[in-house]
Amino acid sequence: MLAYIIRRLFYAIPILIGVNLLTFTLFFVVNSPEDMAVSQLGQKYVTPAAIQAWKQKNGYDLPLFFNAAAAGSGVVTDTIFFSKSLRLFAFDFGRSESGRDITSDVSTRMWPSLAVALPTFLIGIWVNICVALLVVMFHATRLDRWTVLVFVALMSISYLFYIIGGQFLVAKTWKLVPISGFHIEGQVWKFLILPVLVGVVAGIGSGARWYRTLFLEEANQDYVRTARAKGASELRVLFRHILPNALIPILTGVVVIIPSLFMGGLLIESFLGIPGLGSYMLDAINAQDFAIVRSMVFIGSILYIVGLILTDISYTWADPRLRLD
């Protein structure tokens, strides 16, 4: 078990290296620093001198991999690859194109993001499981068929409409919460209600429908028949036998949710004016700030891999067949 986790951690290293190389290739080989300088400085009237100055200011004037001009270890360290890419491993993200310190930006902005994402994630799973259980209780009835149709309809609505609709109804028409914004002092929860609500509601369609199929799949297993033959009631069968077993695939599926959390964060933060990592990223995209985008790609993959490992651990915890091997 411990060996398994350690092995998983070791597996993460080559993957992070891969991510690093991939982003490096995308940002520095496919597009040269010159291209970036031109697009940053405006296309029409750039002088080579201006480009050079910009590159120097941002540290892009070094060779990509090998600096023959430098002395000693500088041959390797005074390169773009080392200073821009390898430094990410030490969580040193450097400065943004506009000169701000990315590391400190990230460390202040991660808290609002976390405050939105974590409750959305946990409440979302809980709500989906509850809804799915409710539907499974009415399996093979008309109610079941219609709910599934409603789920599909909910899935077919763009996330953007959930945000727009939520903001319009809850904040504007009913005036229950502030329309947008975020203040650390005082009543943070007021600003969290809307994003969490939107995130949870938007996920019900696909989430509950998926969990329903998982539950039904388990309901077809032999051990369920055994439980019924023991004289267990339908409710007991559902909660004591089907649910614990279905939790295993639900847990593995959690990994799939992580990327959508990321995207959800991106949209909802910018819509509702929450100063988190999502809106940070979006602003960077709009300002074409490659340094920030690059750092966020790296942070995103670390989060994903951490999520993956956590899922694996919880998976072994939920499934004795893995735990006791």
Binding site: P14, I15, G18, V19, L22, T23, L26, F27, V30, N31, D35, M36, V38, S39, Q43, L149, V152, A153, M155, S156, I157, S158, Y159, L160, F161, I164, Q167, F168, K172, I179, N220, P259, F262, M263, L266, L267, F271, M281, L282, I285, N286, Q288, F290, V293, R294, M296, V297, G300, S301, L303, Y304, I305, L308
Partner: protein
């Protein structure tokens, strides 16, 4: 008139051709034919498929582009014709110039006056501020009060024509398909509704803006219809780009195992560990820089937008193959252990032949399910990407751009709801139809559900 073939036009026709061939080939297999029969024996299957076909049809019509010849101007050399710089499609013509009737800014559906006040001068030259009359709506009315009855009579007449057209279309099909046991009537009903709506929309939009106009004064109904091509094309093209990569790598990994498997697994874990949205955003940004630096490659503005669009499809395709690849790999691993592949080994059948005859045909159901399932996801993704600013070029009509342009308008008083509703409606119908259809396809083709059905 000069036809203009955009890259994406070419691709969409190639794509439709390829899909038709693919399905024709599949017909030769009785088991797959049975599966399709199961899909189409339900009314839901018929209705949703018809809806999807209507969207595809609109997209195809919107992909026949040409540039209009300009009227010869005095002084130009004889015999030389100049072409308009705006590109028109067959669909634009069929919609009867709906897209050419611009207003100044917002106007509500069926409104006669603009949404915003404007400084005007009355006949005496005195300045005042009021809602100006629209240029292309209700100009034929004698009295503004006649609007209600006018709409009604015009609608009734349009509906009558619509029903007539529907009767012809459905009657023809009825004659051809009367001996079929499938529930065609469900499809016919849908067709009738679509035809009536279409006729009504085209005829009434000559007098009014059915869904109002947007900030730039463009007709919202027209914009929404123009979004169809983008949505459909993106949904199919990205999947089709992703398919060969995913299938080739997945099959190789599952069949050859060993180091091939290790490499492929490493590739897709690495790729999938980067949040897709970031990877897409980064790639699109970089491509945008490329376009900006090489403006001379593209003669017409639409070509630039088109290049960006195709790049987006490629990027979506290249970044999203990992989940299908994983599925294909797992299934190939399973199939490789089955008796018929083992038997093929025992007969000394070559690897290529085993892959082509034994493994690939048995992966068809996964490919098909993915094809249909991913479609709706991609249509939804388009909207989000356009919102983030890394999607479709703003000059190209798309639902994402419509939403993006109108997102803050709900906070106006009175509320400007129609732009969002237009995009919402057209997108929702397509995605809902695709989702419901993909459910049916999965139920019919997924062996697991098949087993469940026969076991109970």
């Amino acid at each position: 008139m000069k036809p203009l073939l955009l890259w994406s036009d070419m691709l969409i026709y190639l794509l439709v051709l390829a899909l038709c061939l693919f399905f024709l080939r599949l017909r030769s297999d009785p088991q797959i034919r049975d599966h399709w029969r199961q899909v189409f024996s339900t009314r839901l299957g018929m209705v949703t498929f018809t809806v999807i076909l209507v969207y595809v049809g609109i997209a195809l019509l919107d992909s026949l582009h040409f540039r209009k010849a300009l009227d010869p101007v005095a002084g130009s050399p004889r015999g030389e014709i100049f072409y308009d710089n705006t590109v028109t499609s067959v669909l634009d013509v069929m919609l009867g110039g709906m897209g050419e009737r611009f207003e100044r800014t917002y106007s509500a559906p069926f409104a006669l006056k603009s949404f915003e006040k404007q400084d005007m001068k009355d006949d005496n030259g005195a300045a005042f501020r009021d809602f100006p009359l629209l240029e292309h709506a209700g100009r034929h009315l004698a009295q503004p009060e006649d609007r209600g009855s006018d709409i009604l009579t015009k609608s009734a007449r349009a509906l009558l024509w619509g029903l007539l057209a529907a009767a012809v279309v459905v009657g023809l099909q009825w004659y051809l398909l009367r001996s079929s046991s499938l529930p065609w009537y469900a499809s016919w009903m849908t067709q009738a509704v679509v035809i009536c709506l279409g006729v009504w929309l085209v005829s009434i939009s000559r007098y009014y803006h059915v869904l109002g106009t947007d900030l730039g004064g463009a007709d919202v109904a027209f914009q929404s219809i123009k979004g169809v091509r983008t949505g459909v094309l993106l949904g199919t093209l990205a999947t089709l780009i992703m398919l060969p990569i995913a299938v080739t790598l997945g099959v190789m990994a599952g069949y050859f195992k060993g180091w091939v498997d290790d490499v492929v697994q490493y590739l897709y874990t690495t790729l999938s560990s980067i949040p897709g949205i970031l990877l897409i955003a980064a790639s699109v940004l970089l491509f945008q820089v490329y376009i900006d630096l090489h403006p001379d490659f593209f003669a017409v503005g639409l070509q630039k937008a088109d290049a960006r669009f195709i790049a987006l499809c490629f990027i979506l395709g290249v970044t999203s193959w990992s989940s299908l690849c994983r599925l294909i790999r797992a299934e190939t691993l399973k199939i490789s252990q089955l008796g018929y592949v083992q038997a093929a080994h025992a007969f000394g059948v070559s690897h290529t032949r085993i892959l082509l005859r034994h493994i690939l045909p048995n992966l068809v159901h996964i490919i098909l399910i993915t094809l249909v399932l991913d479609f709706s996801g991609l249509v939804l993704a388009e909207a989000v990407l356009s919102y983030i600013g890394v999607g479709i070029d703003p000059t190209m009509g798309s639902w994402g751009n419509m939403i993006n342009g109108a997102r803050s308008e709900l906070s106006r008083e009175p509320v400007v709801w129609w732009t969002l509703s237009g995009a919402f409606f057209f997108m929702f119908v397509l995605v809902l139809a695709a989702n419901l259809f993909s459910d049916l396809v999965r139920d019919a083709f997924d062996p697991r559900t098949g087993i469940r059905r026969s076991a109970t």
